[in-house]
């Protein structure tokens, strides 16, 4: 059993595009699960989390097109205004791509702080669009999901890097 932690200098295999697509679809499914009541409030936006992860880790492979399209699908599934998630996810992807070197320069808690701030910005954009369209402020628990997502960030990083790790060399003592 290899050590689960990833050292900063470990060389990883290139990520497969199929795996990225799979995680994004899985995130969409997780968002579409029938959440209700309190669970709905503490539910992190899995799609935003997965998008931000890939935009920071692989800014050359995942970008605006994926973010925008998956945002449109979220809008349809939520029965929301067409384009609100698309806009929020596009801006999130931009932030992820522009800041990826900075965020990867940190590790542990400072990295999580960056992620939470970016996800809160995503929430604020959706909130602003909804309030412009005439909705009421839903209350501060609305932002809880982003903090939950922040708590999931480090475990998610370990999990999503598993397919990229090299197998231990059997001839190596």
């Amino acid at each position: 059993m290899a050590d689960i932690r990833i050292t900063p200098h470990e060389i990883l295999l290139p990520v497969k595009p199929g795996f990225i697509a799979f995680t994004l679809v899985a995130a969409l499914l997780a968002n579409l699960l029938p959440w209700s009541g309190t669970w709905l409030w503490i539910r992190p936006d899995f799609v935003a989390l997965a998008l931000l992860y890939w935009c920071i880790e692989q800014p050359r492979k995942v970008g605006f097109v994926a973010a925008w399209l998956i945002g449109l699908f979220m809008d349809v599934a939520d029965g929301a205004l067409f384009g609100q998630h698309a806009l929020a996810y596009s801006i999130l992807a931009y932030a992820g791509i522009v800041l990826h070197r900075r965020v990867l320069g940190f590790s542990g808690t400072p990295q999580v702080v960056h992620v939470v701030i970016l996800l809160l910005m995503n929430d604020l954009i959706v909130l602003a669009i909804r309030m412009l369209a005439g909705a009421d402020f839903p209350g501060y628990p609305y932002f809880v999901g982003s903090f939950v997502a922040g708590a999931l960030w480090l475990p998610l990083g370990v999990l999503l890097k598993l397919p990229q790790r090299t197998k231990p060399d059997p001839y190596h003592a």
């Binding site: 499914l29 209700s36 973010a67 699908f73 349809v76």
Partner: protein
């Protein structure tokens, strides 16, 4: 001096330009959808693509429910059966009485020359999931335009009105609950026949009666039913019960809070009541008349 980077450094547009393009596109979509309803077709296409995911995501909960149903005990089944038989017996008595009244009513209406009431066809639909959106109160059900569901149909459960079909996709449709903020439903007080408009507030257990004068006769516990004058909801479906009446002389209207009769937040199945009867067109307004205050109906 012109300086071109070598081709292997080319990465396409910079993120700033891409951000501008995609934000502009999103904003255009937002405006087109919110103001002009231009994107209905695009939404239909996207909904067909998302549909399998919606079904897959709803599956685990459905399987869990079925498993729970499988492991039900014998005694609880017997108790259920006894209760249902008793209910059925009571309902049968009421129903036979109602059939007689219906015939009598039709006859009287014929004598009076009044319009006949319509019998509304009913379809059952299964709720796939409730709103995951903290901003609105919506349900997604598994019948769509392929199952003859249309925009604007009323949705009820066994106790009363749940909401209205607001968007129809090929195999799914969206129901806006009566508790959704901004949803209005014309009602009538069953006790004295007063008409009013009931508005959703965005919370699951509260509805507001709007624009009721301070001296209007509404009391705690008054049952409110649909008045049917909008042509959307059939007449006489229970909607809500008056829960609290506050009359404050400093304000123009009484503040009347009601609780919905239907289990708005807990459903697995709902009934979609079909067919808007072809009502006579509302009178057209004459454009040249000077602005007059419209009389308010109580």
């Amino acid at each position: 001096m012109e300086h071109q980077p070598p081709p292997f450094f080319k990465t396409g547009l910079t993120p700033h330009v891409r951000l501008l393009i995609f934000s502009a596109l999103s904003l255009a979509f937002l405006v087109a959808d919110a103001r002009f309803n231009y994107l209905a077709t695009l939404r239909q296409v996207a909904s067909v693509i998302v549909y399998p995911f919606q079904r897959i995501a709803a599956a685990p909960a459905a399987i869990a429910t079925r498993m729970g149903e499988f492991f039900v005990t014998h005694s609880s089944l017997r108790a259920d059966k006894a209760r249902l038989m008793e209910e059925n017996f009571n309902n049968a008595a009421a129903l036979s009485l109602m059939n007689g009244l219906k015939a009598e009513n039709a006859h009287l209406r014929e004598l009076l020359g009044a319009r006949q009431r319509f019998a509304f066809p009913v379809t059952t639909a299964e709720v796939l999931y409730a709103a995951r959106d903290p901003f609105s109160r919506k349900l997604i059900v598994d019948k769509g335009s392929q199952g003859d569901v249309r925009d604007g149909q009323a949705v009820v459960d066994d106790r009363g009105v749940v909401g209205q079909v607001t968007r129809v996709y090929p195999w799914l449709s969206e129901i806006t609950l009566i508790t959704d903020k901004g949803h209005l439903i014309p009602v009538q007080n069953l006790r004295n026949g007063l008409r009013a408009v009931l508005a959703g507030t965005g919370t699951d257990t509260e509805l507001d009666l709007r624009f009721i004068p301070l001296n209007a006769d509404f009391q705690n516990g008054d049952p409110l039913v649909t008045s049917g004058i909008d042509g959307v909801y059939p007449h006489g479906l229970p909607v809500a019960e008056v829960a609290r009446v506050e009359r404050n002389a400093t304000q123009l209207f009484a503040r009347i809070t009601c609780t919905p009769s239907a289990g708005v937040a807990n459903h697995t199945h709902v009934l979609i009541v079909g067919g808007r009867p072809d009502l006579p067109l509302p009178p057209t307004e004459e454009p040249k008349t000077p602005k007059t205050r419209k009389s308010r109906k109580g």
